[in-house]
Amino acid sequence: MAIDLEDQYDKIYRYCYYRLRDRERAEDVTQETFLRWFASDTYRDRNQLLQYLYTVAGHLCTDEFRRPISLPLPEDVPDRETDPLLSIALRAELDKLAPGDRELLLLRCVNGEPMAVLSRLYGQSRFALRRRLNGILKTLRDALQ
């Protein structure tokens, strides 16, 4: 029922950052998203809330940055732990993906959101979404090999 606000803040911020590519604006949008939730006081169930937060954050990002251009993933965050060659190759492959696919990868593989939340967010069945995700991962794996 209850959610970890700090953890959720990080996830929404990461989502906004990769939509806007700007730390300041991403943080503004993240805070605006949470303020709207605090003001609404409607969504208490965890899955409903996650869907609500991502929907509001997505709309606010669209308002903030309307031009639908696909920028490469930002380079200003230094890589750690991962093999640098793999990291560079992965970034190059991620840049080739459609923005929607990159967003799905972020939500599922990095933020670890449940398929139930994602299926409602994208308006697709879990089966279809899983197939799409597996397709994206297969493309990445094939390209990296």
Binding site: M1, C109, L137
Partner: protein, 235 residues
């Protein structure tokens, strides 16, 4: 997904640390309800007549089992399914009144509220049954454990059947179906007393123990299934 790729993706999507997070969360920290607080809040939303009928059934069982009436604890146990019916009705009422869709949009998920209410009534009924066990054991000259098993088995069996029916039967037919299940379990108890009284002998206690364990498992499984069903509704 292999670990290496997952780690590489996490690195690729790593964002710079937010600078205003701590200040924001400190300023806007809001208090979340914990599960037991929700249960406590729901106590006042259970209708007065549900408490009244529970107490009336408690009195009825005591009266039937009292030495003055001399019907014995076995007959009295046939009333416990109706206690379970009261708890299950909390689950079925929203469906009977076709309010599910509206309730799904409310502040708390409907299933959280319904489960909280069922926990409240279930605990209240367990206290009542615990209160009934010593006098029934004394009047019937059987052990407390045996009396407890005879009282709990029909209660949990009706609860499990009722929850299964509320998941399967839609609309207004739901409550009569649960009532029918309670009557069926109650009549089964009465029939056993009349036609197979030997089942109430101490040597058949393991059989009753198994029935109680099965009923407990079934009721637990129904609670989990009811909770999971919410996902399907939203899918």
């Amino acid at each position: 997904m292999d670990k290496k790729l997952k780690q590489a993706l996490a690195e690729a999507y790593r964002a710079p640390a937010p600078e205003r997070k701590a200040a924001f969360l400190k300023q806007h920290r809001r208090r979340e309800l914990c599960r037991w607080e929700l249960v406590a809040i729901q106590i006042r939303y259970i209708r007065w007549w549900v408490w009244a009928v529970s107490l009336a059934l408690f009195g009825g069982i005591l009266w039937m089992a009292s030495p003055a009436r001399g019907m014995g604890g076995w007959y009295a146990a046939a009333l416990t399914p109706f206690l379970a019916l009261l708890a299950v009705m909390e689950n079925g009422r929203a469906r009977a009144c076709q309010m599910e869709e509206l309730e799904l949009a409310c502040r708390m998920a409907r299933h959280s509220v319904v489960l909280a209410r069922m926990v409240v009534l279930g605990l209240f009924h367990l206290i009542l049954l615990a209160g009934l066990t010593p006098p029934l054991a004394a009047w019937g000259a059987v052990g407390i454990a045996r009396t407890g098993v005879y009282l709990l088995t029909p209660y949990l069996l009706t609860a499990a059947l009722g929850m299964e029916l509320t998941r399967r039967v839609r609309g207004r037919e739901c409550l009569p179906a649960c009532g029918g299940a309670a009557v069926l379990v109650s009549m089964l108890g009465v029939c056993l007393i009349n036609f197979r009284p030997e089942l109430y002998q101490p040597e058949h206690l393991p059989l009753w123990g198994s029935a109680l364990a099965l009923a407990t498992l079934a009721a637990g499984a129904e609670i989990i299934l009811s909770w999971k069903e919410r996902e399907l509704q939203w899918n």
